[in-house]
């Protein structure tokens, strides 16, 4: 297909806007909808960096795909920006786990595709992670060591990490100080989520989802095609596990 330079530039502008903000509005949306060439180009650009473009109402979203992609935001960047200079990969993966648990808490029903809660208190979040860690501990030590051989980061260190953190002290007034407690760790994850425009703080340490977050879950995770991709992604790991 031949593109004229105007179309290419338009597509490029639109892509840059998306890459910078994660979403684009009205005028850009018009360009995207009206011109098949622009649309095709933007989609291609996105694919190249393992992302997809989703239309949701009056907005366009650039959503990174579920994948271990070199184009996605770098581990180092995340560590440096959100977890402090001393953070290790364990901290980072702890954060990933916390984020996944966070969304699980909002979408935990087969009866409705809407979120089942309006907000998640930080304490509930801690409890929920506790539960997941408990599930992890049910795997036998040997089983977990077996996985470690295959991958560089292991679940055992995550379990240790979490258990080494002080559980919530009910009497302490402020949990956000320098002592590493579960609450203060989740406080940094909270700041990360806020920064990514995924969560809003309602006060009282209660977190609610933003429209962006809801859109990603309902338009990406619940999309027939992408959902299949996500399942395949997880299935791929299971298979590798079976092979060894």
């Amino acid at each position: 297909m031949h593109y004229n330079s105007e179309q290419v530039m338009k597509a490029f502008e639109l892509y840059t806007e998306l890459a910078q903000k994660g979403s684009a509005e009205k005028e850009h949306l018009q360009d995207y909808l009206a011109d098949d060439a622009v649309r095709g180009l933007v989609d291609q650009f996105a694919r190249k960096v393992d992302c997809i473009v989703i239309i949701a109402g009056e907005r366009l979203y650039l959503v990174p795909e579920t994948k271990l992609s070199p184009f996605h935001v770098k581990n180092d960047t995340l560590k440096k920006t959100y977890l402090g200079s001393k953070a290790t990969n364990q901290d980072l993966y702890m954060m990933y786990l916390a984020i996944i648990v966070f969304f699980g808490e909002f979408y935990d029903s087969y009866n409705t595709i809407e979120a089942t809660r309006d907000f998640l208190p930080l304490q509930e979040w801690v409890k929920s992670i506790d539960r997941q860690i408990a599930t992890l501990k049910e795997h036998s030590e040997e089983e977990l060591i077996e996985y470690e051989k295959e991958y560089s980061y292991n679940w055992r260190s995550i379990i240790e990490k979490w258990e080494a953190m002080d559980p919530l002290k009910e009497t302490a007034k402020k949990q956000t100080g320098n002592t590493i407690s579960r609450m203060s760790f989740l406080d940094s994850v909270k700041r990360f989520l806020e920064d990514q425009e995924l969560a809003i703080d309602l006060g009282n340490n209660e977190l609610a989802l933003t429209e962006k977050a809801k859109t990603i879950v309902q338009r990406y995770f619940m999309d027939l095609e992408y959902n299949r991709g996500i399942l395949e992604f997880m299935y791929g790991f299971d298979k590798r596990k079976g092979d060894t």
Binding site: Q20, G22, L29, L33, V49, C51, I55, G57, E58, R59, L62, V63, P64, E65, T66, L68, V73, Y93, Y96, L97, I99, V101, F103, G104, Y107, D108, S109, N111, T112, T116, R117, D118, P121, E124, Q132, T135, L136, Y147, Y151, Y153, N154, Q196, D201, G203, E206, E211, K214, T215, V217, R219, F221, M222, E225, N227, I230, F233, M234, F237, D238, K241
Partner: protein, 499 residues
């Protein structure tokens, strides 16, 4: 003879249950068994309803700062003869009620039931109260009625919220005709809530369209909803125009009447009504505009996403979280699964050409200029605050001297009751009152000459000048005074001696 249609009896079963479920929180409150200090059981059901009405009233007067404190103050005042509890007891009561209306774990209130229309298990979710804002300084959360909460309040008032605005318009017209202008003003405020409620509903619909249009069926459902909203707004808009005209006529009529009678009160009231009505009308007009936009743009955009095929149900917790930890998948997978929520990578580059670019030298010479400005304004604000505080303290010192009247000592308790008698309770609600005595106690003994170079020194200067050759000694007493709901302070004895 009419036909008997057993299949249609259960039509709309879900909506009916949803409406019934709204009352659940009140019944839940009713089941609570707690007694007051006299052992009398507390009427939780009633207090729950009162609280709902209280929040509604706060919305009417457009007060957005209603939290536990405000509710408990209201309940305490409303039930002071009926329920024997202290301030703390009422605060706990208010907290219990708020927690029931807005569960602190964040899950929406839910009612599970068997749907006799579809013959399946089903559930409805609703939210009565929501967090409105948060004051970081005092760590207080403020609440307001959510959509369903308003519905509940309206449901106790014999008509439904969809017709609320029209009905209010009708009532307003009747009131204007009868000349009940005070009531009319309140009616307009109710209309304002209706409009705000509509506004929220439209935003909600907009968001839902954004996320939920997944099939032709839902598309046409939303289309119908939007059409409905549009026609309703249009009809209401017509009525608003007529009302405005009517108010204008009333205004003119009154103008001529009033000049004969030389009595301006009613006329002023009508002027106010006309102003407020126009405001509400304007807000409403914006909504009409928005609904048109919704009809054209949003729906069209949504049509695009019809290509999208959604799955009917998805449980993130089960399918992603549980899968990750129970398989378990390698830790790396967590990164991949979290990826969709993150922004894409941004490379930050530095060009060597920057070396030749214009350099800013001034930054190296100490502080940047902006910073200096900031601290100046900061200082200015502090100074202003201090000035105000200093005036307050002078006023308070005058009161103390008045209260002493020739005696040589007085307790804080006596001062407080003196202030209450002469100046009313307002002064006691003010923080300065307490600051003043705490500072007095800290700096005791006080003489007019003393001028230490401390932070508070200038603040008290003027107040101390009033002492004129007297010396104040302040000592603490054991008793704690609860002067208002908000403040309590230890009792003190203030001695006055001639030097």
């Amino acid at each position: 003879m009419f036909q008997y249609r057993p299949d249609e009896i259960a039509n709309g079963y879900r909506e009916r249950i949803a409406r019934l479920a709204l009352f659940d929180p009140l019944y839940e409150l009713e089941r609570k068994t707690q007694a007051d200090n006299d052992g009398k059981p507390i009427d939780f059901f009633g207090l729950g309803l009162l609280s709902l009405l209280f929040f509604f009233e706060q919305m009417l007067i457009r007060n957005r700062k209603t939290g536990v404190k405000e509710l408990s103050a209201y309940l305490r005042q409303a039930a002071k003869n009926e329920i024997n509890l202290d301030a703390n007891g009422f605060e706990n009561l208010a907290r219990t009620i708020i927690h029931t209306l807005r569960p602190p774990h964040g899950k929406r209130r839910e009612r599970k039931f068997f749907n006799w229309e579809t013959k399946k298990f089903d559930s409805v979710q609703y939210s009565i109260l929501k967090a409105d804002s948060f004051d970081v300084k005092t760590n207080t959360q403020y609440y307001t009625l959510d959509d369903d909460g308003l519905e509940l309040v309206f449901a106790t008032k014999e008509y439904f919220s969809e017709f609320q605005l029209s009905i209010n318009q009708l009532i307003l017209r009747k009131q204007l005709e009868k000349g009940e202008f005070e009531g009319a003003l309140r009616q307009i405020n109710e209309m304002r809530i209706d409009v705000e409620n509509l506004q929220q509903r439209i935003i909600k619909i907009k968001h839902e369209i954004q996320r939920n249009i997944i099939s032709e069926e839902t598309y046409s459902r939303f289309k119908a909803i939007i059409e409905d909203v549009y026609y309703r707004l249009k009809r209401e808009n017509e009525e608003f125009k007529e009302l405005n005209l009517f108010v204008k006529e009333t205004k003119e009529r009154l103008y001529y009447q009033e000049t004969e009678k030389q009595e301006g009160h009613t006329y002023e009231l009508v002027l106010k009504i006309s102003k407020e009505l126009e405001e509400v009308h304007y807000e409403h007009g914006l909504l009409l505009q928005e609904s048109i936009e919704l009809k054209t743009k949003a729906l069209k955009a949504a049509q695009e996403s019809l290509y999208y095929m959604g799955i009917n149900s998805f449980n993130f917790d089960q399918e992603i979280t549980a899968r990750l930890v129970s398989s378990p998948l390698p830790l790396e997978a967590a990164r991949g699964l979290a990826a969709p929520f993150l922004k894409v990578h941004k490379e930050e580059l530095w060009s060597p050409l920057t070396v030749f670019a214009e350099q800013r030298i001034d930054e190296e010479e100490g502080q940047p200029v902006e910073e200096a400005f900031l601290s100046v304004t900061d200082e200015g604000e502090n100074l202003r605050k201090r000035e105000i505080q200093s005036k307050n303290f002078t006023k308070l010192m005058k009161l103390v001297i008045e209260a002493v009247r020739g005696r040589n000592s007085i307790t804080l308790k006596e001062i407080a009751s003196y202030v209450k008698e002469t100046k009313g309770e307002n002064l006691l609600q003010h923080r300065s009152f307490y600051d003043f005595f705490i500072i007095l106690h800290q700096r005791s003994p006080l003489t007019p000459q003393e001028m230490p170079a401390e932070e508070h020194s200038q603040i008290l200067d003027e107040a101390l000048a009033l002492l004129k050759g007297k010396k104040l000694t302040v000592t603490e007493e054991k008793e704690i005074l609860e002067l208002t709901d908000r403040y309590s302070i230890q009792n003190m004895i203030i001695k006055v001696e001639e030097i």
